[in-house]
């Protein structure tokens, strides 16, 4: 009988894969977006920064900063979902998961629609993405973003994404 893996080994492997997925993207670092992980559930975090403001009179987050945040949350969720099964089964060698590796290729956006429900306040924002369709060619994703109250989202997005195709033989 095989013993279950020690919990710290599992956590370390999952966190390493998530880190490699996020770390390679300059625009994610530029915005300061990071991800919290609980099991397979990701929460994207956009820490407040003065450069994210669009309307200094209110002040409010720039709609483009919000759109960027939602799109990043959707793409990383998809990249993560794509790796999860291989990662858990051991087919994905964690040593191979370095920034720039083929397995870390991210989906490409086809289209995205952002619904601005209320002004983004000058404080941290959070987002969770839900994959509504995960196909071999494309995926459909819905993202909710909130600030102080989870029940009062300030923006939502729906987007479609081309999944990276395996190289042809």
């Amino acid at each position: 009988m095989t013993r279950p893996e020690p919990v710290q080994v599992i956590k370390q492997r999952r966190d390493a894969v998530l880190h490699a997925l996020v770390e390679g993207v300059p625009y994610i670092a530029f915005l300061g977006v990071r991800f919290d992980r609980l099991g397979d559930e990701l929460t994207a975090i956009l820490p407040y920064d003065a450069k994210l403001i669009g309307n200094p009179a209110l002040p409010a987050l720039h709609g483009g900063a919000t759109a960027s945040f939602l799109e990043i949350a959707a793409i990383i969720e998809l990249g993560w979902a794509r790796l999860w099964a291989d990662m858990e089964s051991g087919r994905l060698d964690p040593a191979q998961v370095q920034p720039g590796a083929a397995s870390l290729r991210l989906p490409r956006t086809i289209d995205v629609t952002v619904d601005y429900l209320r002004a983004g306040l000058p404080r941290d924002a959070y987002a969770r993405a839900r994959v509504n369709r995960f196909g071999r060619r494309y995926a459909s994703v819905r993202v909710d973003a909130w600030q102080d109250n989870r029940d009062r989202p300030f923006a939502q997005a729906t987007g479609h994404f081309m999944m990276p195709q395996p190289p042809r033989d």
């Binding site: 200094p56 490409r108 601005y116």
Partner: protein, 140 residues
């Protein structure tokens, strides 16, 4: 109220300034804004293609500027914005967005925009959105 000088317009928006956006023209419900390629805005390090989110930010800013370029407009906010990404922007190329308010009601502006990179006649992206339009109070 006089409209701010075009060059001051984007400098007043911190996020537009952070992305290096430059206003090229503004007036009569239209706006043209450029954004230079920058390694910090890259979404795919393997190819150097700009992240879709940065293009979204350019589109949102350009559409908002077009709304403010409508007669009597003093403020705006995005209600919703849809962006179609037709192709990857050429790495290193400046992206230029052009937006037009094609219809306004008393409180809502309907806007279309395209973004090009000079490499092809096919735009990099197109956008369509609805924006709040705040107007100067009209005297009785």
């Amino acid at each position: 109220m006089p409209r701010p000088a075009p060059e001051a317009f984007l400098a007043a928006l911190p996020f537009a300034a952070a992305l290096g956006m430059r206003l090229e023209s503004l007036g009569q419900g239209r706006a043209r804004i450029g954004m230079d390629w920058d390694a910090r805005f890259v979404g795919d390090p393997a190819t150097g293609v700009i992240h879709g989110g940065a293009v979204s930010a350019l589109m949102d800013t350009c559409c908002g500027a077009a709304v403010l370029a409508c007669e009597g407009a003093i403020g705006t906010a995005t209600i919703d914005l849809r962006i179609d990404y037709m192709r990857a922007a050429r790495p290193g190329a400046r992206i230029v967005a052009e937006a037009q308010c094609y219809h306004t009601t008393r409180t809502v502006a309907f806007v279309r925009a395209t973004a090009t990179d000079g490499a092809s006649d096919t735009p990099v992206a197109s956008a369509t959105g609805a924006f709040v339009i705040d107007r100067e109070a009209t005297r009785p």
